[in-house]
């Protein structure tokens, strides 16, 4: 196969064919970045062969995933569906099915886990720490190439791979390999490699920082090197010091499976703006139940709660609250979410989108016993609700989530279709 990385400016970098992969990686750190190409759209093309070769878009309201055929029209994640219909009338637009995508991702990550003792997974990509595994796998570049082949053979999905000595550079290298390629950068070439990359590719540079830096004439990573770290700190706070190191290709954060997620978010949009209070409360209950069940399955409790909505006219609103004890109890979380939600209802207008997000997790520990009688009564009620949750979780673990519909969520039974995973929502969130 022809190389997709040519302009390496004398560095020891390479792409396929792997058989000329050169010397072994040796004792250097090795991080492999695996990225599933056009993830949701690719799965839809697998499920429905007639979609192969056609522009396919998955999303509701905005594009969540676009096939490469759709990308040829300039369609990207975040493009509105009305814009998609305008620039590509023949595009096939699908609402998507989160549980199916999750099943495929888990299969890909299971294969990756066979290669890497340490794996960090995200929605559609993963970082594999392969440091010191060459004795087990043999030549690392060939082992990574074999992983890509196995993913293709066993799932039908195309993945792009980037291998480097740290996670940031591995991700940057992967961009050169997309779609479906494999690129690697040998140890020692990091500073030269990142120098010519656009500033937006540097880890920690989002839209706002990139815009500011471009105004200052910084367009490539090497331009950032002219700034003293203290100046970058003035501009961007503590992250400025990290950027100063990253501008030389240095990134020290280890690959590690996240012990606690940053947040768990469950949200949906409505086919038509929803103004019925009972229907909104039912959806809020269902989303709270899903988020709380996910937290319980991980053995964690949230302290932070955020409820957000989007009005029919596109305006958005959100409010936050701090949760007390037993925040992972469905009824406790729903009660708090409903309170926050009431504070959001300040307009006479239908709701287009509704979401519940919990965060600031801590492992579940024994709860402090209440000192006062009133508190004790509340604590006893919360404890009962917690025991009920355990029973419900056990039943769902055995028979699937839809085996049991609870409380106010019952209201949704006549309103929404359901499958083995529960109610079928529009734009179901895929946060892990």
């Amino acid at each position: 196969m022809e190389s997709r990385v040519r302009d390496v400016r004398g560095m020891t970098a390479g792409t396929e064919p792997y058989l000329s992969a050169g010397p072994r990686w040796g004792p250097h750190p090795a991080v492999l970045h695996l990225d599933i190409d056009a993830f949701f759209a690719s799965i839809e093309q697998l499920r429905q062969p007639a979609l192969k070769g056609r522009p396919v878009v998955v999303g509701s309201g905005v594009v969540a995933s676009a096939s490469y055929e759709a990308r040829a029209y300039g369609i990207r994640a975040g493009t509105t569906l009305s814009e998609v219909r305008r620039i590509c009338p023949e595009a096939v637009i699908l609402p998507g099915h989160a549980p199916t995508y999750r099943a495929f991702a888990e299969r890909v990550f299971d294969l990756a886990a066979e290669l890497a003792p340490n794996l960090e997974t995200f929605l559609d990509d993963a970082l594999l720490d392969l440091t010191g595994t060459e004795r087990v796998h043999g030549h690392l570049i060939r082992a990574a190439a074999e992983l890509r082949r196995r993913v293709r053979a066993e799932t039908g999905l195309s993945v792009s791979l980037g291998l480097a000595t740290n996670r940031m550079v591995a991700r940057m290298v992967t961009r050169l390999a997309k779609p479906g390629g494999f690129a690697w950068l040998r140890p020692g070439g990091e500073a030269t490699f990142v120098a010519r990359r656009p500033i937006e590719e540097l880890l920690g540079i989002g839209h706002a920082r990139a815009a500011l830096l471009r105004e200052m004439g910084v367009t490539r990573v090497e331009d950032l090197r002219g700034f003293p770290p203290a100046r970058l700190r003035e501009l961007f706070g503590e992250v400025g010091l990290l950027l100063a190191a990253r501008a030389w290709g240095r990134e020290t954060r280890a690959v590690a499976a996240a012990e606690l997620p940053g947040s768990i978010r469950r949200e949906t949009s409505f086919d038509e703006p929803e103004a019925d209070g009972a229907a909104l409360a039912a959806m809020l209950h269902y989303l709270s139940d899903r988020a709380a069940a996910q937290a319980r399955s991980l053995g964690i409790e949230p302290r932070g709660l955020r409820v957000h909505l989007r009005w029919a006219d596109g305006g958005a609103a959100a409010r936050q609250a701090t949760l007390g004890a037993r925040g992972a109890t469905t009824e406790v979380l729903f009660a708090a979410a409903r309170e926050v939600f009431r504070g959001l209802l300040v307009r006479r207008m239908g709701v287009r989108n509704l979401g519940v997000e919990i965060s600031r997790f801590h492992p579940v520990a024994d709860h402090q016993l209440a000192l006062f009688e009133a508190d004790a009564a509340g604590e006893a009620a919360a404890a009962r609700a917690g025991r009920l949750d355990h029973v419900v979780d056990d039943l769902r673990a055995q028979f699937g989530f839809r085996a049991l519909v609870r409380g106010r969520s019952l209201e949704l039974m006549d309103r929404l279709p359901s499958d083995a995973y529960g109610f079928v929502l529009r734009t179901p969130c895929l946060t892990r």
Binding site: L46, Q48, A50, A103, E106, T155, A403, D419, A420
Partner: protein
């Protein structure tokens, strides 16, 4: 492209070999539908039961999504996808 939800129990003739399962044909009402291709398959482990999903192309060209529940050993036709 159009999806029609079926969610109906079906009888399936399948090949169970080497830990893998592959549907060969199924009966839907009076019709026997032969599977000409398994387009893709995936396993969902939501809950302790594994559910095996298959996207299959029938002789007619229609694409069905079938589900085998390893818990109670039943098959369901979940939906059919038509062009147009």
């Amino acid at each position: 492209m159009r999806w029609e939800t079926l969610d109906e129990p079906i009888k399936v003739r399948a090949d169970f070999q080497g830990g893998d399962v592959s549907p060969l044909a199924f009966r839907r009402g009076p019709n026997r539908i032969r599977v000409v291709r398994v387009n893709t398959h995936w396993v969902d482990r939501d809950g302790r039961r594994a559910r095996y999903y298959f996207s299959v192309t029938a002789e007619s060209g229609d694409v069905y999504q079938l589900c085998f529940d390893a818990g109670d050993l039943t098959w369901r036709a979940e939906c059919v996808m038509y062009e147009g």
